[in-house]
Assembly symmetry: C2
Homo-oligomer: 243 residues x 2
């Protein structure tokens, strides 16, 4: 009797490469560590009812008014004009966000999420260090093919998303066929960076972008494992806690 083939796992380091991967038969993990998918984990962990990702700032403003929801988001690392809140996981404590709907738009993360949906992904979930274990457990349990999709920075490879992909690969590799140099690279980089992640992150482009706005605390939160360990899944137009 043949053992059934393991599902495949690929890492896609930029949205501009997503077309190279067959997502129609796969779970896509949208990864935007600084900071969309960290903020999503934080808000849902702290009791948000749902998060509606929207491509444009104008779209977020309009939908927020229509639903009476909180609007949030950033462009180029700053709160976008016309929105109430930014893209910081620290802005969404339990006493503020429980039971509420958040309409969120960001530079890279929400864009990739919509690309994955448009390309027909079987399921879209979001991942960040904050919910590393929840993501890994779900991937292993589901037994489906996986594409780890890094949101990157305006299509350029970024380090923090690659590192998170590497953290996932290192945890779940044995359950998948991993014939993918991007996954090998991500895993190797993670094994190097995990020894002193914060000092490695300080070498990245995004660190320089965000530290210019005084966001060191945000970044430290975003690279801390399992501090908002929920599984956000996209259902009926919104990210909700997987049940």
């Amino acid at each position: 009797m043949n053992t059934p083939a393991k599902p495949t796992l690929f890492t896609c380091v930029s949205p501009a490469l997503l077309h190279l991967y067959d997502v129609q038969d796969a779970i896509v993990v949208v990864i935007d560590v600084f900071r969309a998918t960290s903020t999503i984990a934080a808000a849902l962990y702290n009791g948000a009812e749902k998060i509606i990702p929207v491509d444009s700032v104008q779209g977020a403003i309009e939908l927020g008014e229509e639903l009476g929801a909180i609007t949030a988001g950033e462009r180029d690392g700053k709160i976008a004009e016309g929105l109430q809140h930014g893209n910081s996981p620290l802005e969404y404590p339990r006493e503020f966000i429980t039971g509420k709907t958040l309409v969120l738009t960001t530079t890279n993360g929400t864009r990739l999420l919509h690309m994955a949906l448009k390309n027909g992904a079987t399921e879209v979930i979001t991942g960040s260090f904050a919910n590393l274990s929840a993501v890994c457990d779900h991937l292993v349990k589901s037994g489906k093919n996986v594409v780890l999709g890094c949101a990157a920075w305006k299509d350029r490879v970024n380090m923090e998303d690659t590192l998170f992909a590497g953290a996932v690969v290192s945890r779940v590799r044995q359950h998948f066929q991993v014939f993918c140099d991007a996954s090998l690279g991500a895993e190797t980089l993670y094994s190097h960076a995990r020894i002193d992640t914060w000092n490695f992150v300080k070498k990245t482009t995004h660190y320089h972008r965000l530290s210019a706005y005084g966001l060191e605390k945000d970044m430290q939160w975003c690279i801390s494992a399992d501090i908002a360990n929920v599984l956000p899944v996209y259902r009926d137009g919104a990210l909700v806690v997987h049940s």
Copy 2:
């Protein structure tokens, strides 16, 4: 008196990302370690007069006939039908190639070279471990912006090209502004892999592809530093030794 700003250096990990980088004001280093740019270094080092990179197999056949040149190339790692020679650096010893013209077409390398030219690169050179020092010396001396362009595998990131980019970054970083996570990643991977490059290469997808054709010796040649240390530069339609 202000110190003049250092030139920039970026690593582009896939041809599908080349449009993100301004190559009009830069030297583009085309990197296709397995095996186009290793073969180019070998042939020129061993005295080939010039190498004409051609996109299609049919184009290579026609041009070869017209010029009475040697035709060579591969598709998917194998000698392409209708061509005389493959894409192996070991096929071009001095006694065979001196003074001759080689018309070469490959899966990834020649394609990236033509993309760089079409995008208006100031200068196109080719790099591989075989000519690592020649490439680095030229980049430092020229003082121009640099884009390290990995040929990758059908637009997917590959490890061997990334490693070579990392080797270059680690040697020349101090002479450039390197605000680029892909360069940071490549350099970190190279610092990890250099300790036992061959065993690391054995984990890559391309190793599995090429070893299936018995090409281990080729690959070992291709990751050996400075064994064909010339600088191939694209001039008037062909790669020639920089003078």
